[in-house]
């Protein structure tokens, strides 16, 4: 079960901050992040890549975006 981060409705830099904290604190190899705008989607993907993760899933879900990142 992937660790989940719900960053919908949060403004910069919260989505990235919550993602990097989840990476650091849980150490899980798979993390799922929900965001509600395209800019956050890009930022989370960019941050994950810089932390040794890759974006496995990045899909639109109704009004939001679901991103799954996996450790490389």
């Amino acid at each position: 079960m992937a660790h989940k981060v719900d960053a919908r409705g949060l403004s910069c830099p919260q989505p990235v901050l919550l993602t990097t904290e989840a990476i650091k604190n849980t150490g899980q190899s798979e993390i799922e992040i929900l965001v509600d705008n395209q800019a956050s989607r890009e930022n989370v993907g960019r941050a994950a890549e810089s932390q040794g993760y890759q974006v496995a899933v990045s899909e639109e879900m109704d009004e939001d975006f679901r991103i799954v990142i996996r450790k490389k």
């Binding site: 719900d6 919908r8 409705g9 949060l10 403004s11 910069c12 830099p13 919260q14 990235v16 901050l17 919550l18 990097t20 509600d36 705008n37 395209q38 800019a39 989607r41 890009e42 930022n43 989370v44 993907g45 960019r46 941050a47 810089s50 974006v55 990045s58 009004e63 991103i67």
Partner: protein, 362 residues
């Protein structure tokens, strides 16, 4: 990769920085004030003067660039399906942060965009402003690390998302109905300056076109001067920073080419050389921008995307500008306003209070 947005790449953000860096000095060449090709704070202040909510005679002009920023971002948002009306994340706090940001910026005499343009024009005082900006944003990141958060925003109606773009469209209509009249300080209901920075402006069509273009590109690329510094301090990310630096370098080269580069600290256009207050004013503004999640430009672009929290911040800035000139808080080339130092100190206290009061975990 997470998207097909070419402007979200490194090359994309650098290209946008270079384009802004070319267009801003060009606007100066075409009539805008010195080292003020684009200054979000100064131009919102001029708009406040144009509609008469302050009556400082030298800074009254309804700047088309600002209207263009919002409407260009709106166009990009609509075309790329990123117009998503949202709001409800501590709007009153954002209003106050906008006021404080503007007051701090007017103690320095410029927003982060102008600080970059002043540097690119050779104004050494800009170095103090940029150091202050970094210091203010750094303090902001300390709050973020401790859990500072203004809470979630929620989906709003399309009508709500269109409120600020609608106001901008209305202002544009006023500018067209009441154009400046030779030798007159008023045209219909709009105020104009007969001298000073408010009387220096590029032709309407060019200023509006550049504003629209920059708004469009900045929406696509998420260009943000505060975020550039914040992301580097928080995450060691250089993405936005690359765009900001590209702007400075491009503007420097264009200034050299146009003969607009005049290195020094004395007699710089629309600037004073009080080192400490240049630093401190921008520190206060930088902290306010950080706590509100975006530089003044980015707040306009997000407003165009339908973000009413950003729109409320913009209105706070315009209110701050009105108070700054009505109450003698704004600096001038002669130095600080009568109450500028006190206002900046109170502004810092307000930011710190907001920071501490919103430490929480979502």
């Amino acid at each position: 990769m997470s998207s097909r947005n070419i402007f979200a790449t490194l090359a994309g953000i650098v290209a946008v920085g270079v384009i802004i860096g070319i267009l801003a000095p060009l606007l100066q060449y075409l009539g805008n004030p010195g080292n003020m090709g684009i200054c979000v704070a100064c131009f919102e202040r001029d708009i406040a003067g144009a509609i008469g909510i302050h009556r400082a005679a030298v800074v009254q002009y309804l700047r088309p660039e600002i209207l263009g920023f919002v409407l260009g971002a709106l166009a990009a948002g609509l075309i790329f399906k990123e117009f998503k009306p949202s709001g409800g994340s501590a709007p009153m706090t954002r209003f106050v942060l906008g006021m404080v940001a503007m007051i701090g910026a007017l103690v320095f005499l410029g927003c982060p965009w102008r600080a970059a343009l002043r540097l690119a024009g050779g104004d050494g005082n800009a170095v103090l402003g940029l150091l202050g900006l970094v210091a203010g944003v750094y303090i902001g990141t300390l709050f973020f690390r401790k859990g500072y958060n203004l809470g979630r925003s929620y989906k709003q109606s399309i009508a709500t998302g269109l409120m600020l773009p609608g106001i901008m469209l209305g202002l544009l209509a006023l500018r067209l109905i009441f154009p400046p009249l030779e030798g007159e300080d008023k045209s219909g209901i709009l105020f104009y300056s007969l001298s000073g920075p408010g009387a220096a402006y590029a032709p309407l069509a060019i200023a509006l076109a550049i504003g629209l273009g920059v708004g469009f590109l900045a929406q696509r690329s998420r260009f943000c001067t505060m975020g550039a510094i914040r992301d580097f301090i928080l995450f060691r990310q250089t993405h936005l920073l690359a765009g900001f630096l590209a702007l400075v370098v491009a503007a420097f080269v264009v200034n050299l080419a146009l003969g607009q580069f005049n290195p020094g600290f004395e007699d710089q256009p629309v600037a004073h050389n009080l080192f400490f207050w240049n630093f401190f004013g921008m520190l206060v503004a930088g902290l306010a921008f950080a706590l509100a999640g975006g530089c003044p430009g980015r707040q306009l672009f997000m407003s165009g995307e339908g973000n009413s929290d950003a729109a409320v911040f913009v209105l706070g800035m315009i209110m701050g500008a009105a108070l700054a000139h009505n109450w003698g808080l704004a600096s001038s080339p002669a130095g600080l306003g009568d109450n500028g130092a006190l206002a900046a100190i109170i502004g810092l206290a307000v930011c710190l209070a907001i920071g501490f009061a919103n430490l929480k975990r979502t």
